[in-house]
């Protein structure tokens, strides 16, 4: 295979060089040679032949063929794991760029580059008024034009609405109930991504855990929690949440209230001089929440705290939900701040 390609290449080069020396003699003083096309009945002005340029085009097209063949050969020769993407790219890119070069030679040396003049299109005042006239005259038998046009418009509108109606089956229409669904309820255990139940003793300070409701769909937006343990003396939760953080363990919805990304960063250990407290951070737009104060926004574009889930520790030491979220989960919308009435998410 390789020897064949080498032989072909050598043959081609040989021919090219012979032609070039021959061409140099015959095509001397070629130049543009653009005669004025108008004199001799021609449309495109004449020019003298350019054998050398033709040779270049032939050589470049041959190169394109070689590259294209190279693509097929490398596709066939390699197994999927060993086939270098670079080789394929160079083959097909090389073929296309060889064609580009050939066409460039054609454009610059082989076709006559004329400059032609053309009138810009004009307006047509006469036809404009004729069109208006014929429309006016066509409607001259109608006496109640506005009413009829209005009726036609209403018909088009009604038909359009009817045609779009089936698209309403995409999802619930004007029912925001699904946004109130939560898989959490009092007593539900917190489990890890591998369904291992969390014990309070599994939660260490200075680190960050993702927890889910036991047995629920983990991809549901209201499922994931961030769980961190803080020094109980540092916790200052809003009023009415005094018993929501047993042993200093707090849990918040993991979905950012700004645009719905996951709160995936925990700033701990901290840089005591300027960032003295541990913080929960969303990597999408850097909304930053203070887990010690009910995940209030301390920085970034989020407009609401993260909803908090009250926790309790059962007799065996397992972490369980002690109720439902303090607010609706996820990015803000019209009704996100009204009192949540959570619907149990069927699992």
């Amino acid at each position: 295979m390789r020897r064949w390609i080498e032989a072909l290449f050598a043959l081609l080069l040989g021919r090219l060089f012979r032609r070039r020396t021959a061409g140099a003699q015959t095509a001397g003083g070629s130049g543009d040679g653009s005669g004025d096309g108008s004199g001799d009945g021609r449309i495109v002005p004449a020019g003298s032949p350019e054998r050398r340029a033709e040779n270049w085009v032939l050589a470049l097209l041959a190169l394109a063929v070689l590259f294209a063949a190279g693509f097929v050969v490398s596709y066939a020769e390699f197994s999927p794991e060993r086939l270098p993407n670079e080789l394929l790219g160079i083959c097909i890119g090389g073929a296309l760029l060889s064609i580009t070069a050939a066409l460039t030679v054609v454009a610059r040396r082989l076709v006559v580059t004329e400059e032609i003049e053309e009138e810009y299109p004009q307006e047509h005042p006469k036809q404009q008024s004729e069109v208006a006239q014929l429309v006016h005259e066509s409607g001259s038998r109608f006496t109640r034009k506005r009413l009829l046009l209005g009726a036609a418009g209403a018909t088009a509108g009604a038909l359009g609405v009817a045609a779009l109606t089936p698209a309403v089956s995409f999802g619930p229409l004007w029912d925001t109930g699904p946004l109130d669904e939560s898989p959490w309820r009092r007593g539900r255990r917190l489990v890890s991504v591998d369904d291992v139940p969390f014990k309070a003793s599994d939660i260490y300070e200075e680190t960050f855990y993702t927890a889910f409701p036991e047995g629920a769909d983990k991809e549901f937006i209201a499922s994931p929690l961030v769980v961190v343990r803080l020094d109980p003396s540092a916790i200052h939760l809003p009023a009415g949440r005094a018993d929501w953080a047993p042993d200093g363990i707090v849990a918040y919805s993991k979905i950012c209230t700004h645009a719905g990304c996951a709160i995936a960063l925990y700033r701990k250990p901290t840089f005591p001089v300027v960032e003295p407290k541990p913080m929960l951070v969303c990597p999408c737009h850097y909304s930053t929440f203070d887990p010690a104060t009910g995940a209030t926004v301390v920085y970034g574009p989020a407009g609401r705290p993260l909803p908090q889930l009250p926790l309790m520790i059962d007799d065996l030491g397992y972490l369980r939900a002690a109720g439902n979220y303090s607010a609706r989960v996820g990015p803000s919308w019209w009704n996100v701040r009204s009192d949540p009435t959570f619907v149990n998410k069927p699992t």
């Binding site: 946004l179 645009a259 990304c261």
Partner: protein, 465 residues
């Protein structure tokens, strides 16, 4: 003897009576200036996107059904993931040349939008949008914004971690539309994010059929409008006038150049697809709503939106217990709407302000219209500075400039710098104009003096020129 060209032409003309049109099309004049090729680059990117996209549809599976990966990429062996993500892993590792096509498709999308934006800047700064070409401008802008949506859907379909984060943000921005955002997003997604399983095939059919069809139609209209009014041209000589266009004919002059540009664009994109990695989705891993990664950046053409989302101060506009305007609305929805609105209205705004209602076939040089150029530079800077803030987290890592420091610099800078730039650029344009006037006056005085000298010397005045 039959003429091999004449025969088919006759065949066609006898059946369609199109020979006059064909003759006219072949001799359509293209102005000979490189900047008129930018739109063509965009067109050729679009064609390549269609071609590579067709190939990808043979192997892509638009399904969120769970599947366990066992394939050549051992790092993800045994991971549960969506069928969509698995099929893109297979395109990248299992099917030969799949990675090349996928990467070329992605690079072509990035270059498509880049070519459109640069083409738009050329059209803006040369005043080529003026009467009689406002419709071409409007259609072109629509193309740009539909293409943004198309690109966004394209990388969202893959269902890797980055694409899922992008989709989550899109959902969040959708929810932030005042009053109707919540029900609208639920209707569209079918359920709270990440939506019902049928959302994926719907997104897919939009990406591979509905939006490409819309884009192709808009491109057709755009080109038909260009051809109907012909290209603008620069006043390169006294022969270039508002009435007469000087150019290279479509055939034979322009055709090989244009084809060379097409193959060149494709060649470069395939080389990029082969040599330069883009969006290595296997490194991001599959998306889950509870996962996110730091340092995430969208494709370049959405950078302005992430910048705007990050730059907004923290507040939701509330009316009693109702949330009228959630925060993402400003950066994610209002900002692009303002940008598109200003651009769409610009030809009419300029006409109102300048009182210039004439036809324009001659393109301005930027200095010829100091107010437009100054406004354009300020406006572009405004958008691209907000874009730049989208990379603030990367700037922090690269040059250790605090994120906070950058935030305050940008919050002031995006307003202050455009204002300063407007004044400076306008002054620069006017000075360039003045310098030209002085040069012309000098030139005229010199040739006058020469003529006088010749008359005094008793000879005939020299021919001008």
């Amino acid at each position: 003897m039959s003429d091999p060209i004449l025969e088919p032409v006759r065949f066609i003309d006898e059946r369609t009576a199109s020979a006059p049109l064909l003759k006219k099309a072949l001799r359509y004049a293209f102005p000979d200036h490189w900047s008129f090729l930018l739109g063509e680059v965009a067109l050729y990117c679009f064609i390549l996107l269609i071609l590579t996209g067709i190939y990808l549809t043979f192997f892509f599976d638009p399904s969120t059904a769970h599947t366990v990966y066992h394939g050549p990429y051992t790092e993800l062996d045994g991971r549960t993931m969506s069928a969509a993500y698995k099929s893109v892993l297979d395109i990248s590792f299992t099917y030969k040349a799949g990675l090349l096509i996928r990467q070329t498709h992605h690079w072509a999308a990035d270059m498509f939008l880049a070519a459109i934006v640069i083409h738009l800047l050329r059209v803006f700064f040369t005043g080529a949008f003026r009467k009689p070409r406002e419709l071409t401008w409007i259609v072109g802008l629509t193309l740009l914004f539909v293409s943004l949506l198309e690109g966004y859907l394209g990388y969202s379909l893959v269902d890797d971690l980055l694409s899922g984060m992008g989709l989550a943000i899109g959902y969040g921005v959708g929810l932030s539309i005042p009053i109707i955002g919540g029900p609208l997003m639920l209707l569209l997604f079918g359920a709270p994010f990440p939506g019902t399983p049928s959302f994926w095939p719907r997104m897919y059919i939009a990406h591979v059929l509905l939006i490409p069809l819309l884009l192709a139609t808009l491109i057709g209209i755009h080109l038909a409008l260009v051809a109907a009014r012909h290209h603008t041209q620069f006043k390169e000589s006294p022969r270039h006038t508002e009435k007469r266009l000087i150019g290279v004919p479509m055939f034979p002059g322009q055709a090989p150049r244009s084809l060379a540009l097409m193959f060149g664009t494709w060649g470069v994109l395939f080389l990029m697809g082969g040599l330069f990695q883009i969006n290595p989705i296997w490194q991001w891993g599959p998306f889950e709503p509870y996962l996110a990664t730091n340092g995430a950046q969208p494709d370049w053409y959405l950078g302005w939106l992430i910048g705007a989302l990050r730059l907004m101060p923290s507040f939701d506009v509330t009316v009693s217990h109702f949330t009228l305007i959630p925060n993402p609305f400003w950066g994610g929805a209002l900002f692009p709407l303002v940008v598109i609105g200003i651009l769409m209205a610009y030809p009419w705004l300029e006409r109102k302000l300048t009182g210039d209602y004439r036809f324009h076939n001659l393109a301005d040089r930027p200095r010829d219209a100091p107010n437009r150029t100054a406004f354009g530079v300020a406006f572009v800077f405004w958008v691209f500075a907000i874009f730049g803030f989208g990379a603030a987290d990367r700037i922090l890592v690269l040059w250790n400039i605090g994120y906070n420091t950058q935030l305050y610099i940008f919050r002031v800078g995006i307003w202050a710098f455009p204002a300063i730039l407007f004044v400076l650029v306008r002054k620069l344009c006017r000075e360039l104009q003045a310098a030209e006037r002085i040069e012309r006056a000098q030139h005229e005085a010199e040739s006058e003096a020469e003529q006088e000298h010749a008359v005094l010397a008793g000879g005939a005045p020299p021919a001008p020129g």
